[in-house]
């Protein structure tokens, strides 16, 4: 919104001055006064007089009327016609597309100057001719932009939804499609106006546009050029007017486009150096030797326009060799941020504010980027939910795996390829020789995920973090991948952290589980115990929402709170069926309920007792 004021005000001022020119007390812009030819600033003429002794300021303002009038009129006409053509072509496709978008493309084959010359010869020069020429010139641009945008907008479900409502085509195009393509069309408009101002000047300069003595910026530049040596300032004024107008137009349309889109995100704050250094200054906890990864008290802080938030707070978990620990919770509970913090892959605005992540004798949170890079893909590997976005689309699958091996080990290309083939076989890719040479888009979702796993395993990691690796897959493929992971873990003794929101998947593959809610660990323990006798009301509610038993599943009312609005006491209190006043008074501590079992609820003993009774 703020970004709209400056360019908006400037453009409005220019337009207003141009519009009000007849009301301003200006000297006649075409009255000549040869005696004062090329004079500098004099009373009544603050910018001086031109080569015929005409007042420059007056000509500049009256010229703006012509120049901007021509530019806006032609951009508006071209915009209206072009957008309509694009809409029709993009919506109806087929014949409609051929008759509209393809047809106007023909215009693009003409060099603009040639077209202008042709039309001017036929119709004679003048502002009206200019508008006609420029409109014709800019129609294809609008048509193409609108066409491309309609094609992408029409595949959206919300367009299908209004179709399903039985809306007539006109209504769909005007009410639903048009607003959604307005952004790019507006940008095109700003470009067209800017270009039209320039072309108008150019054509007038060549004597093909506005007819002298009528003022226009192009004619002024033309006139000033001849007398450049005697009065260089004459050239400056129209050029400055031209540049500033174009600049303001571009800024305005940029700001307009953002403003039209209600989703424009707030800008990301910059990270201060001290924030990056601060965690390193805190005294680290002692590493525990028996575990592969030991995360303790991890807090992630993100600077946002609403202030600093802590989407992950005081999270502790550990995983031993050959063990699978699941991290489970609703979306927005901080699972992925916990994993990316450990991998050193946090988004730019986020930083680990406290805690430690011991991997052997090294704290992953305090390693430098080069050190991390040596670990990542080597001793510590990660598999993501969407294999398509994590594989490079322009390289063959086998080459990417071989490259991953060579990044961490000194082996020849041929050896790396042979190892990749071996890995492909291990992860159960059928016909591995052929698949090595396939591009990612030629593989199915399940196969891509296998390639990702092969890549993650390439350097025999001691720790593998898998973030929702099966969520995008069908159940039959998911079953294949879960089996594969379990088998690999047995064979290699890799410690596995498995992130998922599916409790059933946790039950299938994990040894221990950490339940997260609103950035905190709320319950932790061996899977059989936690699912058999859940202690935290949230765990119990989550289990009750699963479609498993014959009882109808029960939803949990409300949603996970946003990090900037976490409740002060127990974060689950607003949705908890057992909440009492004391729950909201202070944050409940994470208590050890039994050997290896943690729970964050002040009432867990009452509730466990009530259930037993």
């Amino acid at each position: 919104m703020k970004r709209l004021w400056l360019p908006g005000g400037f453009v409005a001022a220019i337009l207003l001055i141009a519009l009000l020119a007849p009301l301003l007390d200006l000297p006649n812009p075409i009255r000549q006064d040869i005696a004062r030819r090329l004079s500098g600033p004099i009373p009544g003429s603050p910018l001086g007089r031109d080569e015929f002794g005409r007042d420059v300021l007056s000509r500049l303002i009256w010229g703006a009327r012509t120049s901007l009038g021509v530019a806006f009129a032609s951009a508006l006409i071209a915009g209206a016609i072009g957008t309509m053509i694009g809409l029709v072509g993009g919506w109806f496709r087929g014949i409609g597309e051929l008759l509209t978008v393809r047809l106007v493309d023909v215009i693009l084959c003409f060099p603009p100057i040639l077209l202008a010359l042709l039309v001017v010869t036929l119709l004679g020069p003048g502002a009206a001719t200019l508008i006609l020429v420029l409109s014709v010139l800019y129609v294809p641009g609008f048509a193409r932009v609108a066409y491309a945008e309609v094609l992408s907008a029409r595949s959206n479900d919300y367009v299908e939804a209004v179709r399903a409502l039985g809306a007539p085509t006109g209504r769909i195009l005007l009410r639903t499609v048009l607003p959604n393509i307005a952004g790019p069309v507006l940008v095109q408009f700003s470009l067209a106006v800017a270009a039209a101002v320039v072309v108008e000047s150019g054509l007038s300069f060549l004597g093909l546009g506005v007819v002298p003595p009528a003022p226009s910026w192009g004619l002024m530049i033309r006139g000033a050029r001849a007398t450049m040596e005697q009065a260089p300032l004459m050239l400056l004024w129209p050029c400055a007017a031209l540049t500033l107008t174009i600049l303001a137009m571009n800024l305005l349309c940029d700001a307009l486009r953002d403003w039209v889109d209600p989703r424009t995100p707030a800008r990301r704050p910059r990270l201060r150096l001290v924030d990056r250094l601060l965690p390193g200054l805190l005294p680290p906890a002692e590493p525990k030797p028996e575990t592969v990864l030991d995360v303790s008290g991890l807090t992630v802080e993100i600077e946002t326009p609403l202030g600093a938030i802590k989407p992950v707070e005081d999270v502790s978990l550990s995983v031993r060799a050959g063990e699978t620990v699941a991290l489970v919770g609703e979306s927005g509970s901080g699972k992925s941020l916990t994993a990316t913090a450990v991998m050193g892959l946090l988004p730019p605005a986020a930083r680990p504010a406290a805690g430690a992540a011991w991997f052997g004798d090294r704290d992953l949170l305090r390693l430098s980027e080069p050190e991390l890079r040596r670990l990542r893909g080597g001793a510590v590997a990660m598999v993501f939910q969407d294999p398509m976005s994590s594989l490079n689309p322009v390289h063959r699958a086998g080459d990417q795996v071989a490259e991953a091996i060579r990044a961490h080990q000194e082996v020849s290309v041929a050896d790396a390829k042979a190892r990749a083939l071996d890995l492909f076989r291990r992860v159960g890719i059928a016909d591995p020789e052929r698949r090595l040479n396939a591009y990612p888009h030629e593989l199915s979702g399940g196969m891509r995920q296998r390639v990702m796993i092969a890549m993650a395993l390439a350097n025999r990691p001691r720790l593998l973090i898998a973030d929702e690796p099966t969520t995008a897959l069908d159940v039959t493929v998911q079953a294949q991948i879960l089996d594969l992971l379990a088998e690999l873990k047995r064979e290699t003794g890799t410690a596995l952290i498995f992130i998922t929101h599916s409790l059933a998947v946790v039950a299938e593959i994990a040894d221990r589980v950490t339940v997260m809610y609103a950035g905190q660990v709320v319950e932790q323990g061996p899977v059989a115990q936690v699912f058999g006798t859940p202690l935290h009301p949230y765990t119990r509610a989550l289990l009750g929402a699963v479609h498993e038993s014959d009882a109808a599943p029960v939803g949990i009312p409300g949603v996970v709170p946003q990090p900037h609005a976490f409740p002060t006491g127990c974060r689950f209190a607003p949705r908890c069926a057992h909440a009492i006043a004391a729950c909201s008074a202070a944050p409940p501590p994470l208590e050890e309920a039994a050997e290896g079992r943690l729970v964050r609820c002040i009432r867990w003993t009452d509730l466990a007792g009530a259930k037993a009774a």
Binding site: P262, S331, D474, T476, A479, E508, H547, A552, P553, G555
Partner: protein, 323 residues
Amino acid sequence: MSAPLIEATGLSKTFTSRGVFKRGRAVQAVRQVDVALAGGEAVGVVGESGSGKSTLGRLMLGLLPATEGTVRFDGRTLDKIPRAEWRTLRRRMQIVFQDPYGSLDPRRRVGAQIADGLAIHGLVPAGEQGRRVGELLTMVGLDPLQAKRFPHEFSGGQRQRVGIARALATSPDFLVADEPVSSLDVSIQAQILQLLGELRRDLKLALLFISHDLPVVRHLCDRVVVMYLGRVMEEGPAERVFAEPAHPYTRALISATPRLDPGKRTKRILLPGDPPSPSDPPSGCVFRTRCAHAIEACAGAVPALRAFGEARRVACIRAEEIA
């Protein structure tokens, strides 16, 4: 069973990719499917991605023209209905989409989007629209005051509720829900399913519920249709199909579904390889390339969808032997 409200017979859809220079390969998204729904009945359609579930839903709504076969709605054949009458029919059939982010127009307030159906069909006078939108929002468990908000101000589950409110605005008789809970958390899924169940009961909606999540279908639907590569593999009462699946594919699907309770876990039937491409399906039984029970005869003719026990049908020549 009473006469069906909507009935698809021999429905097929082939997509041919358009190209000026190269002839695209035809994708047989839906092959010879028969489905019928009575008023107030819920039918689940399950299958893996690419099995043609969504295409079937769109065909039954008349949003896509069928390549073969017919859809009859309330006794009338869809492709014979004159354009003018389509408008009134549209009011009676609606759809809820999978993606609660993509299915709402990001630039318009949700109230205006819910009111679209009312305005298009002139169901309530302009002055009354606000009140009706408020009622619809209340019906799906939202605050009427939220009508003034934009879609990005809602959570996924809330957006899905808005999508449902928009579909219900025209008081439809037939609702297609295309994976309406797949992108939601379990806690929210249960809320939305509860809502759909109630609405179906209270409004006597015929519901075609598309999903890849079998346990969800079992809870919500009376009958289930299992699809693979565009064809129906098995069909019958939801409870029975899940308790004793007859088709090898249904068995594999059920055994692959992860279970919370280790006691309920059955031995997993792992399907080898990947599903074949729908542009080049196997001859005979489309499932035979991954079926553990396949014999030579399976490659011959396409197995007919034949009666199997009471109110059930299955497309497998060995169903009795395997059972």
